[in-house]
């Protein structure tokens, strides 16, 4: 019986974000760019250690956003089973498989950016004061797939249904589009609600930083 994880890959493609899932005897995960490299050139990890890969980029800088397009190279995760591979993907792209499954079942509720900002308390409360124009610019810069984040945005700017940013291409909101811009079939990384990093960036804008 094929697992739900394998079914997902069959349906969307054996790529997720910057990760390729290779199918030989078992499963192996690598950076998409490293698919044709010899296994012996790559540092070998177990699925349990996948969070160590996710934590730093190639320059050993901390990656606060796991869906940022700066996943490090030079590793392979050799998995013992589909469940093992799924656990590794969950550490590389935390929460994304759960979001995809909810979306497939038509149960993924999205939250408009204004709603997220207005809900904040404490030091983040001020973030709600950002103007629409400033939000348009911020989201266009912060969430862009090229250098920002590889997720597909499903939320709106506010209750009016306005797009999150006019600076982002249509493809940024299309789950069928490969956000790495390689034009391949890939599992989408869905964004159902603005992340804390974007909220923090909105706070900085509101404070004039």
């Amino acid at each position: 019986m094929t697992s739900e994880f394998e079914q997902t890959l069959e349906q969307f493609g054996w790529l997720i974000g910057e990760v390729a899932v290779l199918r030989s005897a078992a499963f192996e995960l690598r950076h998409r760019d490293d698919q044709s490299r010899g296994g012996e050139e790559l540092e070998r990890f177990t699925a349990d250690a996948a969070d160590q890969i996710a934590r730093f980029d190639d320059a050993r800088n901390y990656r606060p956003l796991k869906t940022a397009p700066n996943l490090r190279h030079g590793w392979r995760i050799v998995c013992t089973s589909a469940a093992d591979a799924e656990a590794a993907v969950e550490q590389l792209y935390p929460g994304r498989l759960a979001a995809l499954r909810a979306w497939q079942r038509d149960e993924l509720s999205t939250t408009a950016l204004r709603q997220t900002l207005n809900r904040q308390t404490g030091m983040y409360r001020i973030a709600s004061r950002v103007t629409d124009a400033a939000l348009n610019e911020l989201v266009g810069r912060f969430c862009r797939s090229d250098g920002g984040c590889l997720r597909t945005i499903l939320w709106k700017r506010d209750g009016s249904g306005a797009a999150p940013s006019t600076l982002l291409p249509e493809a940024k909101f299309n789950p069928a589009y490969d956000q790495t811009n390689h034009g391949e079939r890939a599992v989408p990384l869905l964004c159902q609600e603005a992340c804390n990093l974007l909220v923090a960036a909105a706070r900085a804008v509101a404070k004039g930083e």
């Binding site: 969070d51 901390y62 606060p64 929460g95 609600e193």
Partner: protein, 268 residues
Amino acid sequence: MENAGLLIVGHGSTVNADSSAPTWAHMRQIRRSGAFAEVQCAFWKEEPSLRDALLFFRGGTVRDVYVVPNFISEGYFTQTVIPREIELTGAVTERPGGQIWKYCEPVGSNERVTDLLLKRAREVAPGINPAETTLVIVAHGTELNDNSAVAAKREVQKIRERGLFAAVLNAYMEEPPLIADWAQLTSTPHVVVVPFFISDGLHSYEDIPVLLGMSQHVADGVFRQNPHQLHGRSLYYARAIGTEPEFANLIVEQALAFDAAHKLQSVA
């Protein structure tokens, strides 16, 4: 617990790579134990986010979800941020499908934390005579809406009552008694310092070592060079208490304690 899910909630960080590592490690350990049908973690400042946690435990088999904050104490995060983000209405929240989410006490409230602090102290300074040793529990202090200083005081009081060490003291980074004054605060030849934090990070790698007067304060070298000879004393410096693997068991106990406490209440 075969129909139960466990959600471990951590703070996480946008700058500190070590902040969420213990929470992930505890999660993997509890998963391996098989005690729960599903074990997940979520963070305020990292992924999976607290909002993502609303998407977990949908497999169909999970009836009850235990939410355990991996925090040292109650405070702004446990009382305001976590309930707001994961839409908890109280100790018990019923979701539309009938699933019950149970909001447990933070792991730092577990009474065995005291034993873990003592275990840490023994491990970092093996074979030294406790009668010639001062144990210093260091916390941040002055954190807004945070009771971690209160929790640290409680732990010091409990350890003191056991009468093992010559002295047991609280110290803080930003309020008196200051950890920077450790040499004046203590008079024994041995001093053991245990940070009362959930994870290692800048505080335990750099800030506290500098305040203690160590010169080689880089990365985890500080933990490998015990004892440090400073002010004519032997100073032993431990990792943050929350990095202790036993913390995983404390997290599970917090979930079990929830049912025990709430059963008692319904009988009363």
